[in-house]
């Protein structure tokens, strides 16, 4: 009996080692995911986004009706999100990085939630005749998303987020007529400036 018991203990050892090996691999993967930074933020993509924002700002400058002004910026938002997504996906593919899992997934989640929160707020503020507050609100929420997403990326991303937050707060307290200028400086200038820095320091 003793011999059999010892034998069965010996026979169960290899599966335990197998489980231990699996646990070790899981642990390694977890450590890699927790420590990895998402570096696929597209520098050149951001400069293109900034350029389209400058074009949108110059068109919106001549819009007299608030509805037209809003449509111009909505179209620009769709363009910017598309450019950002496509260029980010390309850079991530080139670096063999994922954008929906690991550090990339966390970056995307933290970036997207404040941006999505801006949609119902835009509708409510427009319906209540507070469209003048929209430039400040957009930049503030975008900045919050960039700062929280930037926790999982390189430090310069968070710096860009703080710039957007600062501009957003300033726009909220500035005269309504300065809205376009703030949007041009924020979504245009800031994107171009930080896009160049990212492209130069982190490649593409």
């Amino acid at each position: 009996m003793v011999a059999n018991r010892n034998y069965s203990a010996q026979r169960t050892e290899p599966p335990a080692l197998h489980t231990s090996a699996m646990n070790n691999i899981r642990f390694i993967r977890d450590m890699m995911e927790r420590s990895a930074s998402f570096t696929a933020v597209p520098g050149w993509g951001m400069t293109v986004m900034g350029s389209t924002a400058l074009v949108a700002a110059s068109i919106a400058f001549f819009c007299t009706a608030i509805e037209t002004w809003l449509v111009v910026w909505m179209i620009e938002a769709v363009f910017a999100v598309s450019i950002g997504f496509v260029t980010m996906k390309r850079k991530a593919n080139a670096a063999d990085a994922a954008i929906f899992t690991g550090a990339g997934g966390k970056f995307m989640l933290n970036l997207c939630i404040p941006i999505l929160a801006a949609i119902p707020l835009t509708v409510v503020l427009y319906q209540n005749g507070l469209a003048a507050s929209l430039p400040g609100l957009w930049m503030l929420l975008y900045g919050v998303g960039v700062v929280t997403g930037g926790v999982f990326s390189v430090r310069v991303i968070q710096m860009m987020g703080y710039c957007f937050i600062g501009l957003g707060v300033a726009a909220l307290f500035a005269p309504a007529s300065w809205g376009n200028v703030f949007l041009a400086v924020g979504f245009g200038g800031t994107h171009i400036l930080f896009g160049c820095v990212i492209a130069w320091r982190y490649g593409g």
Binding site: Y7, M31, S35, A36
Partner: protein, 129 residues
Amino acid sequence: MAKPNALRKQDSKETPAESNKLRVVHNLMSKSDPTKLDRLIHERIRLGIISALAVNESLSFKDLKKILNTSDGNLSVHARKLEEADYILCKKTFDGRVPKTEFRLSAKGKRAFERYLEHMETLIQAMRN
């Protein structure tokens, strides 16, 4: 004497596949085998340090402490062991008056980590087949 005999009898019933699995596992875990499991990396904190450094160019002491959720003393001890084995490189600088310690994986450490991963994969593969 009865115990080894009984064991021998039971062992003789092993299939060749099972024997092969046990041999692979034994070889990987055996201390006499030249390709034995690297005990230096095998420890959890040290494995965590190496894994984190494998995907980052460099990490500060503070970063590693946060990732591994461990104490200063524990991290220091394990980092020193890896440094003594030349698995990681340590660079001490000053950020103003605050001392800053940066770690990076050495070529030797990278090779050891790759070997460790291969060991784990072989072990898993051996038990699957």
